[in-house]
Symmetry: D3
Subunit: 335 residues, 6 copies
């Protein structure tokens, strides 16, 4: 069935719950005939749509792996009508290392699609997802968290699509996820993303940015857990009711957009970044968002970073250390 170099004992067509591995060839100096064992689970029950959940696309984003490991243990075939495929650690070597990129080949999984059959580890995994998993799926949810460097107001993230019907279905899904924000991005450099791969096949695709800075918290994990469950209900795979934000006593998901380059502010200096505005705060054009201190010349005044437009600060640099070219702030506006 497959011409991937990756094999598995999982039978995607079998009813029931299977927790197993993708066997990714990984010949190293220490293990000539070594294999990377990458966990995967399938919960299937009869006919119905298929959803693919992925976490750990970047290895320093933990809400996805945690929520999905809990989901794969909790979910029973009897609850399901259709099929749920769960890959809690898509860039498994990166997740094991606790870093964004694969320590084996240095690649960013989310720019590696459609992958390559005989490429490096990351490219082989992307190729497997592209050729084996995406064709099975009707819906795809890839749970991101900002990663080590970025701290995000928890958001369901979707792309602007040309097809109005798919755009509406995608927005409905984003709202169903139940994060504080539903963010519509016009991705400038989307080639190679899992998002693009899924959308190009016509799948309904929802990504997220939930927290970040390489840190996890009870609150952000809860967003991911509720969101994943809500999608199962929303797409008709599980019975039951959505856990709405209203039911949790929260404001409804705020639909917002990041329409242009003025939403982004980048550092053009090396140093230590002092944020003066936190995520979730409203900013106005010209407002001081933060400043970069030159640790090598502390007597010099810091470089000021100001908002280039009005809006809500949905993302900011997490760590204090900043290098030229780092994104330090993203402003969103209501849709």
């Amino acid at each position: 069935m497959s011409d991937s170099r990756i094999s598995t004992d999982i039978d995607y067509d079998r009813d029931g719950k299977q927790v197993g591995y993708l066997n990714v060839p990984n010949s190293t100096n220490e293990s000539g005939w070594g294999t990377l064992l990458m966990p995967i689970a399938v919960v299937k029950n009869g006919r119905g749509p298929t959803i693919l959940f992925t976490g750990g696309n970047h290895g320093d984003e933990y809400e996805g792996p945690i929520a999905l490991m809990k989901l794969l243990r909790a979910l029973e075939p009897a609850e399901v009508k259709g099929r749920v495929v769960i890959v809690p650690g898509l860039n498994m070597p990166a997740l094991m290392a606790g870093q964004r990129l694969s320590p084996i080949d240095g690649m960013n999984m989310n720019r590696a699609f459609p992958g390559a059959r005989r490429g490096t580890i990351t490219a082989m995994i992307a190729h497997y997802v592209q050729t084996q998993l995406l064709p099975l799926a009707d819906f795809v949810c890839d749970i991101h968290s900002g990663g080590r460097s970025m701290s995000f107001l928890p958001s369901a993230v979707v792309h602007r699509l040309d097809d109005a019907d798919r755009m509406r279905k995608t927005l409905d899904a984003a709202r169903a996820f139940g994060a504080p924000v539903g963010l519509v991005l016009k991705e400038l450099d989307s080639e190679g993303m899992l998002d693009t791969a899924a959308e190009d096949m016509g799948r309904i695709f929802v990504s997220t940015e939930i927290g970040g800075a390489g840190v996890v918290s009870p609150a952000t994990i809860k967003v991911a857990e509720i969101g994943a469950r809500n999608l199962l209900v929303h797409f008709g795979i599980c019975q039951g009711n959505l856990v709405t934000r209203e039911a949790q006593g929260l404001a409804p998901t705020r639909l917002m957009a990041v329409p242009d380059g003025d939403c982004y502010t980048a550092a053009t200096e090396n140093g230590v970044y002092e944020p003066l505005v936190d995520i979730g705060e409203t900013v106005t054009v010209g407002q001081l968002l933060g400043q970069v201190h030159d640790i090598e010349r502390p007597g010099e005044p810091p470089a000021e970073k100001r908002a280039k437009r009005d809006g809500l600060l949905v993302c900011r640099l997490g760590p204090g250390r900043v290098r030229r070219g780092d994104t330090i702030a993203v402003i969103a506006v209501d849709l």
Copy 2:
């Protein structure tokens, strides 16, 4: 005056404000006659006590460097009666790298005291502080933030001292700092710390843990800034009034202790850590604090981590990735 290999143009006895460098010999393959230039500032005016402020003892803790760079720019001799010595980046190579330990010699600055004249970079810097700066100081404040792996409820931290008078003066200073918590630690492994070096010389010493996880925020920077200014007033070096917590509409500093080993919980598994309780929450013995998921075997139940005593969660593991032996929680009790 000194037998340190480190030289400086700073004259510690001169009135006025000087921002300069410690010149730390650093012969490398690329630069045989290279020097590490490590910023230092002195603001002096007449007679009066001396306070030494240090930040960046660990290079991934940014509140100290930011607050101290702002202080050294803002502080003018006319405001001062006595002397303020500021080292915003004590482990400068670590701060430049944005990591805890020195990338040059791999050393932890806070276990390097009293240092060594002909040791590695970190040992030479510790030796300079030990032999040149501590003798000048009456008071020492070393601003920490938890670092990449630990997330701390902002605290002024002091050690239990045998001398009741010094203990009282130290607690007074901790309270004056104005953090949410004043934490009295019985350090189990205190040899080599700047704390110990300063205390052994009879200096009044206050450390802090403000935030952490390698992340900075407007709120935690503010704690450091107010705290440093408050100490200047408290020790009589600057005129004016303390910015009390009450004046900020906040609860007074809560004095707490970490009295024994049961306050600490460590992981004995590798995996991804899911915190179930956040810092600042009250816990009771036996309560589930979090759990470790085995990302290599996601089908297995997670390892549960429970509180070994009642108290307040003042510190928890920041990142999701956890390795055997990592501290994942610290519980404190009211003094």
Copy 3:
């Protein structure tokens, strides 16, 4: 004649014996105009078939390089009718480093075919073999030894071929080699191998696995030396008689196969592997082959590894350290 970036002073058409170099462009930070000098030898005398011998395809397998260096020194044109091309260190940088993969580009030479003219070092070498050496050859013998991680019962290794005539000729050559075992593999992931490159061009191809674990011994070197000489006689390039196993007082080569996935056992745990059966021993289904001890939790019982079918243990993990996904045993059955 060639569009490879690799040049050589060797004239493959000249009678006599030439020992020279392939000049592989290798621009580095230390040597902008550097060249990797990769030894090659040709012994030619008049008309007749050509055999290509390669060793060091993996850099931690030494029987091939040793036997071939001795052969290239000993072999004189007068003994030869046809042509013998010898590359004792195919992945020369890996051989110099004593490791499986190239230290320059991290590549596995035996998955790099057909290579690429402008690829990395490994890809350039593969491309040269593909475009310059394989076209010259009628017969190809690539001497492997298991490598650092695997220990093999000395075997001539061939693949199952669809063409019955070529299969027969290949088996005859494997038998002529004179190793204890002649192993017929159905390679699951053969793309990129030298084997595949040679077979796709219609060459008679024999590989080997002689010993391994990164260790050499007088006995295994002898297998490689006799085998290489035997092939020269068998293919009619040298005169004389085969050094048969019978003449050495040994049992004849045992023809065996590795027909399916049940022949392979892999570790799914990290730890230290204790083999309980050695290569050359007969095993029955369910028999305990070895066990993995968790060095981090030595009080726990080890994970048992059992044979999934009857047969002869022809290969096992060499070192004690084992990681998830490592192959720990290969069982073969009589053909």
Copy 4:
């Protein structure tokens, strides 16, 4: 207009002087949304030809970056008729690291053309030059200096071209540059060079080798500065007169060639190289150029390296450390 992943604020069609950046996407573990800011300048005034100057193609060659940074600061639109595009650090990460190859992907920029839109950093930059900058240019000057390992008699370097008219124009430009030598190379391995990319588009292309060994000097910087200015005059972009060698009291540019492989001498030993002839000296066939001492066996006589033809030594190994395959001498002959 472009499908490069690299963006810029520079408007190549706007009159005036712009100094800005190419924004090269560079997602790392420390900065997920990071960008490499690569300086570029454009000085434009009305209609006229375009010249593209590049330096830092190899990151350890400094005459180009220095001369071009000075030129971009000094050059005013009023002096120009046409357009001058300046990239002082083409392999910016390599220049920052002071090494030949990119520390990010290990690539040699001058073998990376035509690059790849979704390749590594070096490939992305090459692709931008290929698709965005070369199409704008009529003339291209890429300033090299030999680099860490090679020391060169300052030379303008051109390739032998089949088209006599372009050959003549190219030689005229090389002469106008005003270096001591004008060197016509028959490049053996020219695929992937910026030279080839420019020439294949029909641009007049001049490269240089000015000094080298990773060392800069007032004299070699002067050659680069005068040369760049002279080309602006020669191509009619700036007014004024050439600063001829004659006007400087120097011998005219000597046109020479490196016609064949005998011009090159390489080491076949590891050790320390003792040059016995310096660049700029005349050599005769058989003359001892230098010798390689085996530092591990200093009692052994050194390996002698002799000239394989008469000519002028235009290039020699700079550092004492030599490894097998290093080029140690290049001899040129008068054209």
Copy 5:
């Protein structure tokens, strides 16, 4: 009781069986408050002597860790009279990495004694053994296996001691161990060894070299298992009979010595080593032991390595790759 920085929950004075950890402080960039958990077990029953077993002193020697993990699981207090302390992985970080030296500080555990309280990880562990474990012990057995580079005829190894009574007791213990060889070494460079530390405290000390080359086998593991059990019986800690070599149908332990420098042969060339004699074979002075082939110049004759005295080859280089200064053979003579 201890001034080590290492703590443990183990109570060495408590009867029964305890399997726990030494907690070694290990502050890293990823885990500021991290701890290395190093397994240790104690089996105690009433009064009687104490034996300390250590394995994994070098991290690439596996017979010790395997035999000792099996022993600690199997041994019950009821079998014991006295105390058995077991450290299966003395250089735990090295054992986890599968290499000789600690990957954390690069140190050789067996040259780190007496260690240092505030030294690196290896020095701290050595210091703990020196100050906490050796004082408890009457007998010490440190199980080595040759390691990655050396292959040893399985031997119990002891040092020549000046005290005749202790020499006799030590030889008795070596014989009781039951390895093929009992080897009396005059160690030339013994400072810093665990051996020396134990002997200097007056403990009866037996070391071993069982196999090696980084490879484990059923046969060598059996030697270690029987040997450890035999020592328990021999020293009167366990009841029962020795498993003698005679009872196994084997020749008795051969007592041998390595009396002088002529027993050792070292390589003075880089290349690939071809052994011509295997361990366990008898050699005569002048006999060719093996030869070093220069892989960079395969046409040159190899360097011959000859025996400098008569005797038994008890040890040889394991891997093919050899570097100048490597020991390639050790010859022993009957005592």
Copy 6:
């Protein structure tokens, strides 16, 4: 005689010429019983003084190793009255790597004295020189060349000594060496140098700085060769006449001093350094020596570096890449 861990076959008391090795224990992961073989030669004839020549104290300074390897091959016992000890590569691992510091332990040999018996490789070598070689010597000459980062006007270098007689003898030796400059340094940070070790034992000590920037040339090698031979004559070990500068048609050695900190200029910026004055040129206070260009902000004016006193530029930064704290110029004045 020695308690060094380093052994040798050399007999320092034997007449004749011996070329051999110091055997430095070097246990590595690849070679547990490995040894660094470090070349040494002794040429002795009867009674007379002893001179110790060392080269390669820094591994990127080649004039010393080349001149000393040639000397050790050429020098015959009959020419000598007394003893000549030659260590051409004092930091042998650094010399093999072509870098300043040891790649094994990262140490600077010239700050490692008096070394340590059980220290790292560099410390062990320093300890051997301190305890075995310096006691044998009456005169010591350590040939340096500036190294990768510094380019020096060829100089014999001595220190200001308190003892007038030894100062005179030392200056006589420096003059006899015959370099263009004889430089009297007041070393600010001399602890740990071979110089200091030798001087503290009362030896007459001459060092050099000949060229540098990691580059060798025929001219600088000649200075080293003539200098070494001249010292042999000057100290009465060899017969014959000095090769004086006058006899070579050169100006006599210019005795100069580097009296204070104003002689040194350092960079306080990162960037690329453009020297405007070359070594050997006279400078006046305030003169522009060079400028640092900020390659990240090429539009900004460069940082100017000016002479702080009148004198001769005897040393300047070699490479273009400059980092904060690098020395960029040294000015000397006539004695």
